[in-house]
């Protein structure tokens, strides 16, 4: 059996995901004798920012990275949630749980059963999320051992300098003696197309290939084909660290897609993710961007159309679907990588592992896209949700208050409740709290939780203070 194990993996690509992939394989597979080699496409120095969402600390620890050190060295601005702005309303998707640990479900039920106007329910909901309270008061703290809150209650992400993060990853890879060969090409569509270029360079044989080609700058026109979305990023260099923004990312719904504003300490990134019809002028009116600021223009294929694993090549793909907000830059890639590692195939029979990987990845990406579809469809009260599973999920909640169980970690039950309630959906059936004594108990629970969370929030430092302290340790 030993001879049939995968012995060599070649990772081809560019950018942060390419480096992250090498790190993950080095950590998870090299101890088992798998040799990992990187082949990097040439290109300009990394620019802009990387957004890592909820669960960043878990992601870093799974890669044996020291979170405070990464944050300090990569000019991070912290993120506790994401604000979605529509013309009619806005709401905050909180990274942390609602209520105190383990109460989320009960609290939502109590809130929905309360005989209140919807606007009062929004107000109460905001007061029952420590993340949202902290965002509103511009506070931040890292949940740590001995802290009065857990990382479920105050989960966090960050916006980091891409250049700094890439440099950090390169240092780790260099220390771990991971070989990275430069390919004399600036772009390529996929691994197979690179292999087909004869004579220019030699890609040695490997048992398995991982394709992390980002297609950065691969698109230079304005045509977005079917099943693709266009992501355009503009960058403005400015010192955000002098007046640190609230720990939240903003996504604004435009007629042509989503515009996201992401701030690290020294630059602000504006990202437009758009489908077939685009109007960049709309962006330029809203934000001070110009052609000079444009740093990338990418066309991203809709990942649901095919399996990312073909033959002996895995394509690490982004999960950006048409008209989705920018989303997280790394978590989905890492999810796919870890799924692959868990399902590591044998050389001579890739099929069964591929089948298992594909079914798990499909389940994950379907649930991811269901949420995005619901997020878009519920905007402006249009209720035009274009995926039937998401539609059924919304219909079921609207009537019964039940969340159809989820099969993956793409989004949680609480995320779905939050999404629907914050967009004005209130279940028809709230009989779970109908008796007078139950309603009184629910009111008491809401009031006492609010008081506890207010107290917790009051004890947190300002986000600015947190960043200032972190900057002092940036050189360490």
């Amino acid at each position: 059996m030993e001879n049939d194990s995968i012995k060599e993996i070649a990772v081809v690509g560019d950018g942060t995901v390419f480096l992250l992939c090498l790190l993950a394989f080095r950590l998870k597979l090299a101890p088992y004798g798998v040799v990992v080699r990187g082949y990097e496409l040439s290109g300009p120095e990394a620019q802009g920012v990387v957004h890592i969402g909820r669960g960043m600390e878990n992601l870093f620890s799974s890669l044996a990275l020291d979170t405070p050190r990464v944050l300090a060295q990569c000019e991070a601005v912290m993120v506790l949630g994401e604000k979605y702005q529509f013309s009619s309303h806005s709401w905050i998707h909180s990274y942390g749980e609602y209520g105190i640990d383990g109460q989320t479900d009960r609290l939502w039920r109590a809130l929905l059963a309360a005989q209140k106007e919807m606007k009062d329910i929004f107000g109460d909901a905001r007061a029952l999320s420590l993340s949202t309270l902290a965002i509103q008061t511009e506070k931040f703290a890292v949940p740590s051992k001995g802290a009065p809150f857990s990382n479920q209650l105050l989960d966090f992400g960050a916006v980091l300098s891409r250049r700094k993060l890439d440099a950090y990853f390169r240092r780790l890879l260099s220390r771990a003696n991971v070989s990275i060969s430069k390919l004399p090409l600036e772009k390529g569509s996929n691994v197979n197309s690179l292999k087909a270029v004869k004579g220019a360079f030699d890609l040695p044989e490997a048992d398995f290939w991982v394709d992390c080609i980002s297609q950065s700058n691969a698109v230079n026109n304005h045509t977005v084909s079917k099943n693709h979305v266009m992501s355009v990023e503009w960058l403005i260099h400015e010192d955000n660290s002098a007046k640190v923004p609230s720990p939240v990312i903003q996504h604004k719904k435009m007629s042509s897609g989503w515009l996201s504003v992401l701030k690290s300490q020294y630059c602000t990134s504006y990202r437009l993710v758009t489908g077939e019809s685009r109007d960049e002028d709309e962006v330029k009116v809203d934000f001070p961007v110009s052609d000079a600021n444009e740093i990338s223009r990418r066309m991203i294929e809709d990942c649901t159309e095919h399996t990312p694993w073909e033959g002996n090549t895995l394509k690490i793909t982004s999960l950006i679907s048409p008209l989705s907000p920018a989303g997280d830059d790394l978590v989905e890639s890492v999810t796919a990588l870890f799924l692959f590692i868990e399902n590591l195939p044998f050389k001579s029979n890739l099929g069964p592992a591929k089948k298992l990987f594909t079914s798990q990845w499909k389940a994950y990406s379907e649930e991811f896209l269901d949420y995005i579809s619901a997020l878009n469809g519920l905007a402006e009260g249009s209720m035009e949700v274009n995926r039937s599973v998401a539609r059924d999920r919304i219909a079921c909640f609207s009537v019964t208050g039940k969340i159809v169980p989820l099969e993956t970690d793409a989004f949680t039950k609480s995320d779905w409740i939050e999404l629907m309630v914050m967009n004005g959906i209130r279940p028809k059936n709230t009989s779970f709290y109908s008796g007078e004594s139950e309603l009184n108990a629910a009111s008491t629970l809401i009031a006492s939780t609010k008081a506890k969370l207010n107290k917790l929030c009051a004890g947190m430092p300002l986000h600015q203070q947190f960043i200032d302290a972190m900057k002092l340790h940036a050189g360490e």
Binding site: M1, S5, N343, L344, P345, N349, A353, L356, E407, G435
Partner: protein
């Protein structure tokens, strides 16, 4: 259906399903909004399903606010750590399906891959299961809640007297306002336009009208398959057993903390220890064995009188939809799989929970009904696949019945799962559904269905290191088991103790879901 306030809910049939439904609805639904009536006839016996349960019964008890000690006393219950399967993998084989997993993950990899590499050493997989080792030693204690301790790596359920359970629930339900009506249903009156059931006419001449009818009439499925003529999906090509004899035998001097499932030539036999008697049954397929032959084999095995066994006939499968118009089927009225993995009470419970989740509040309840049917259909299909697995990979050679089971085709969903396991050693998991990875592994390994490969990373771990780890784990479990009291002593102390909640809410141990 025009719903009034309060909504009239009529439960048809007593027994476990009827009274479980009655007590759950009367506990969880606001009294001002729902009025619950249960119609049953003392002349009609109950099947008495579910003497053996799985850990989810504890969730149900919690839902209805039952004190565990009260429950144990009232139902003659004993504790259960899993099921011992005898003869399923071959004539003299034996394995344990525990409520909990085996071993710990090592370096982020599932324990069973390491066990597979070391399998040739001949140490059974359940050697590394705390629940299995406690069971083999006839011991029991409540699991702890410290995730790092072996003593937290399992869950427990009960063996109970189903008739006593129904009686116990009836008293609770009546205390909580459920109105019981005695009578045999002679006619079901449906609305000629909508097709909804409007009224039940009893043999006494009395009528019972309602807006939502819950069919708990058992195999007769009086409303769903009867009045509503909902089609039945027959699964007997995959689960061929269609009859069972049941008979009690004297109480065991030392009740075992597990159910026994003993394969025989024509089917299999259960043995369930209670405080006051032992429940026995023999499940068989009458296409392969006459009822007389099955009865003779059964009475010989349990040393009972020939006239004693009570014959129950059934069809495995389920109605296409468990909720049709204004009729919801719960339990046997909606479907029956097999007593093999003690899922009968669980499936009743699953139906009740979904009904509570989807309880109508007005006369537009299409969404509620759709969701109820989606959830229950998935639940039944996933349990079905796991049960079929036992038959499909049986190791009994030379018996017409078992040979048929081994050669039968299985549902695509199961075949895919088996193929993936065969080629990768990995269990395709899901979150909606009852049986998780430890259960699948217990049956695969217990019945000798091994993957051709395990995780390739395990190859790189030193053999001696693996062996050392496995030895030390086995020793830890042995030492932990040594300190535990016998099941009999624990049960006696519990029954006589002050009523206190059990110490952990975990169903299958701290590693596996709550």
């Amino acid at each position: 259906m025009n719903l009034h306030n309060p909504l009239e809910v009529v439960i048809v049939g007593g027994g476990s399903a009827g009274w479980m439904t009655a007590v759950a609805l009367s506990t969880k639904l606001p009294k001002q909004n729902y009025r619950i009536t249960l119609v049953e006839s003392e002349q009609i016996g109950t099947v008495g399903v579910g003497e053996a349960t799985i850990p989810h019964i504890r969730m149900f008890n919690k839902l209805i606010g039952v004190d565990e000690t009260d429950f144990i006393e009232a139902t003659g219950a004993t504790y259960k750590l899993g099921i011992q399967f005898e003869g399923w993998g071959g004539e003299n084989s034996r394995y344990f399906h525990p409520f909990g997993g085996s071993g710990h993950d090592i370096q982020g990899m599932d324990f069973h891959h390491f066990w597979l590499k070391n399998r040739r050493k001949g140490v059974a997989f359940d050697t590394y299961s705390m629940a299995a080792q406690l069971a083999h030693s006839g011991k029991f204690q409540y699991p702890t809640s410290a995730p790092q301790e072996l003593t937290s790596h399992y869950g427990y359920a009960f063996h109970l007297d189903a008739a006593l359970y129904a009686k116990y629930l009836r008293s609770l339900a009546e205390q909580r306002g459920v109105h019981r009506m005695e009578g045999r249903i002679e006619n079901v009156i449906r609305n000629s336009d909508s097709g909804d059931v409007e009224e039940l006419r009893l043999d006494s001449g009395a009528t019972v009208s309602g807006e939502l009818f819950v069919d708990c009439s058992g195999f007769r499925s009086l409303l769903l398959r009867g009045a509503m003529a909902e089609p039945f999906e027959d699964w007997s090509k995959w689960l061929p057993c269609n009859a069972a004899y049941a008979s009690p035998s004297p109480v065991m001097s030392r009740p075992s903390p597990f159910t026994r499932s003993i394969a025989g030539d024509f089917g299999w036999r259960w043995e369930i220890p209670l405080q006051h008697r032992t429940g026995n049954g023999y499940v068989f397929c009458d296409a392969f064995c006459s009822p007389e032959k099955a009865r003779d084999s059964f009475v010989k095995a349990i040393d009972a009188e020939k006239d004693n066994p009570h014959l129950i006939k059934f069809n495995t499968g389920k109605v296409r939809n468990g909720w049709v118009n204004n009729c919801v089927g719960i339990g046997l009225a909606s479907g029956f799989l097999e007593p093999l993995e003690s899922t009968s009470l669980y499936l009743i419970q699953a139906g009740i929970i979904e009904l509570l989740n989807c309880m109508p509040v007005d006369n537009n309840y299409h969404v509620e009904r759709t969701e109820f049917n989606r959830a229950l259909n998935l639940e039944y299909e996933r349990v079905r696949d796991f049960l079929i697995l036992h038959y499909k990979i049986n190791g009994r050679k030379g018996s017409e019945f078992w040979d048929y089971c081994r050669s039968m085709s299985v549902p695509v969903s199961l075949q895919n799962k088996m193929d993936i396991f065969r080629h990768t050693g990995r269990v395709q998991t899901y979150r909606q559904g009852l049986f998780m990875e430890p259960s699948w592994l217990a049956v695969y390994f217990g019945q000798g269905y091994y993957p051709v490969r395990h995780d390739p990373r395990v190859e790189m771990v030193n053999d001696l290191e693996i062996e050392k780890y496995l030895d030390s784990l086995r020793e830890k479990i042995r030492k932990s088991v040594e300190t535990v009291a016998s099941h009999k002593d624990f049960l006696a102390s519990r029954v006589s103790s002050a009523h206190a909640p059990s110490p952990t809410a975990s169903l299958y141990g701290e590693h596996y879901g709550k």
